[in-house]
């Protein structure tokens, strides 16, 4: 394995390029979709949210049939059989490696999902857009959004040093 995998790096860049272009033209925003629907029953942006779920579900189903990269689709079948590890991606799990035996860990993951979900919704609507929308606004030249993504990136770098130890103390892991 070399230092850079050209397929993955170039692939993700091209994917970003396409959705960035389309996102700028359409004004796509996930949080905005939920907000506009809640405030005034406007479904213009909400259609985009529904479209992601529909298109990705169909895509994952095809990928599952083709046998590449969607092994345990649909996920709830393996989740229901008690495979706790697949309940939550251990790689992105702030609790570190998931302990299969510990009900404490499952409790922690559910609590973190509540806190995380509510926090993302609350602060995104206060910032007037989801992270995707902020990246697009910053590219248009909006200084507020540019500062937003600087804070966004800074949080990613310090997460392991500030937030993760606090979680470890609370959940005793």
């Amino acid at each position: 394995m070399g230092l850079i995998d050209p397929i993955i790096s170039t692939g993700t860049f091209i994917v970003g390029l396409i959705i960035g272009y389309m996102g700028q033209r359409s004004g796509f925003c996930t949080i905005g979709g939920i907000r506009d629907f809640t405030l005034m029953r406007d479904t213009h942006l909400l259609k985009g949210v529904i479209a992601i779920i529909t298109a990705a579900a169909v895509g994952f189903f095809v990928l599952h049939l083709a046998g590449g990269g969607a092994q345990d689709f649909p996920a709830f079948t393996s989740r229901l059989s008690g495979n706790i590890e697949s309940l939550y991606n251990p790689c992105t799990n702030p609790l570190g490696n998931v302990d299969h035996e510990s009900s404490n860990t499952v409790f922690g993951i559910v609590i973190l999902t509540i806190i995380g979900g509510a926090g993302v919704g609350l602060f995104s609507v206060m910032a007037d857009g989801c992270p995707f929308r902020q990246h697009i606004r910053a590219s248009e030249g909006d200084k507020g959004s540019l500062v937003y993504i600087l804070g966004f990136y800074f949080a990613a770098l310090v997460f392991g040093f500030i937030v993760k130890p606090i979680i470890s103390i609370i959940f005793g892991i």
Binding site: G2, I8, V15, I18, I19, G20, M22, G23, S26, G27, G32, L39, D42, H44, K47, G48, A51, I52, I53, T54, A55, A56, A57, G59, G68, G69, A70, Q71, F76, L87, N89, T113, I114, I115, G117, G119, G121, F123, S124, V125, A127, D128, P131, F132, Q134, I136, R137, S139, E140, G141, K143, Y148, G151, F152, Y153, F154, A155, A156, L157, I167
Partner: protein
């Protein structure tokens, strides 16, 4: 009246042929295509994520700069930087340049926006998803993602109430 009191206009509504529904469809399908290009040990439903991919990319750069593994990244971004957010910004910049889009004059203070960006990333990493990846995880059939999505809606409603009460 609702629109005026909270300062919301239909900012996102453009007259472009590319609608949010078409964009959402493209995001869903391209996320699956990106997932297919990852190796088998990558997280599932990970094709597009604004929060996780930028964490992986910055972590990869930082870890290589100081030759360590101090920042935890996923298997998808361990050996190569995930350039999704760079692509998004390049694509959006291209679109804005081609169509002469002028930026909205920001009224928010820099401190507030920096703090909000910091908080959204922190809570997104607790959730293990940005809103887009949360939708991908829901599409993948993950009950926990649906649960998190319901709480995200609760957060949005709380945010609207706060903005109404204390202004933006």
């Amino acid at each position: 009246m609702e629109m005026q009191s909270a300062g919301y206009a239909l900012k996102g509504k453009s007259m472009s042929r590319i609608t949010p529904a078409i964009t959402g469809t493209a995001i869903g399908l391209l996320a699956v295509a990106a997932q297919w290009s990852f190796n088998w040990s990558s997280p599932q439903a990970y094709g597009i994520c604004v929060a996780c991919h930028s964490r992986d990319m910055l972590g990869w750069i930082f870890n290589h700069l100081i030759s360590s593994n101090i920042i935890e990244v996923t298997n998808a971004g361990l050996f190569t930087p995930l350039l999704t957010v760079v692509g998004i910004m390049a694509g959006a910049h291209l679109a804005a340049r081609r169509h002469n889009v002028q930026p909205n004059s920001g009224v928010d203070s820099n401190t507030r926006m920096f703090l909000l960006g910091f908080l959204v990333m922190t809570f997104a990493l607790l959730l293990a998803a940005c809103p887009i990846r949360l939708l991908l995880r829901i599409a993948y059939g993950e009950p926990l993602a649906l649960f998190g999505g319901l709480w995200m809606v609760v957060g949005v409603i709380a945010g609207i109430a706060i903005l109404r009460r204390w202004g933006s």
